[in-house]
Symmetry: C2
Subunit: 159 residues, 2 copies
């Protein structure tokens, strides 16, 4: 890989990223880092949500059970949910960036990490049984409880 | 899983999703579906970008090579990039939803699918060699070329 080509690629990719590591400590870079962190975590949660909708609709009998769809969604959930740990690594308290994440995430990091670990386990279980209709429905419900438990404690209440 | 519990979970999760399948055909639901599709694809691309930044900075010698970081990012890229196929399945031409996706994506679907397949292959190659510094740097450059090639033809030109 020629250096000039790498530089061209970087010029094409990096200006839009907002993901350069580090930050100098003054207000500008800190806010930029927080904004990138919030964008990252919202992206993970967006994909988690869209991949959880079909299994939960199947569990409700609102759409027919589809083993291939359930397996695809479950496999993606089992991959995406562990990404939450990195996605919430940046403490964005006081950054001014709009977020539904509560400060308690960084006040009780062990408790938050425990919620994520519990959801990861539930997602892996869902992926393991997605081919069995009854087991998939039960596992989707269990994962939903893990999601709700974390939202109850660590996300702004929408009600 | 009791039906009432499933209903409560669904109430907690679904209102925010914008991902309910289908649409009745009038303008409202169609736009909602397009907005959800654009949100989904932007989420995939956001995570692709943030996971590609560290390897490309390593390839540029702007940050030190870190085998574990490169492997994590490469593994995630190899998982995320195949999601583009579903993420662009919804034709959002004429929806009015703001997007950098060009209409040619749905005018030349085979060409677009070929670009994705090529990027998937490059990401898998990156994941396979992430533990070897020189090979990782070359593979990151190769993946960058695939990204750029797709952006050239199928994304609004930012220049």
């Amino acid at each position: 890989m020629k250096p000039i080509l790498i530089a061209l690629l970087a010029a094409a990719i990096l200006p839009l990223s907002g993901c350069a590591p580090g930050g100098s400590g003054d207000a500008g870079p800190v806010d930029e880092k927080a904004a990138a962190a919030v964008k990252e975590r919202k992206a993970v949660l967006t994909l988690m949500k869209s991949n959880f909708v079909p299994p939960i609709l199947m569990a409700q009998d609102k759409i027919p059970y589809d083993a291939a769809q359930a397996q695809k969604n479950a496999t993606r959930l089992a991959f995406l949910i562990p990404m939450l740990e990195d996605a919430f690594a940046t403490d964005t308290r006081g950054s001014g960036v709009e977020t539904e994440a509560l400060d308690v995430i960084w006040e009780k990091p062990d408790e938050f990490a425990g919620k994520i670990a519990s959801a990861v386990e539930a997602a892996r279980q869902l992926a393991a049984v997605a081919g069995d209709e009854d087991a998939m429905k039960a596992a989707a419900g269990n994962l939903g409880k893990k999601c709700g438990s974390c939202h109850d404690d660590f996300r702004v209440d929408d009600d």
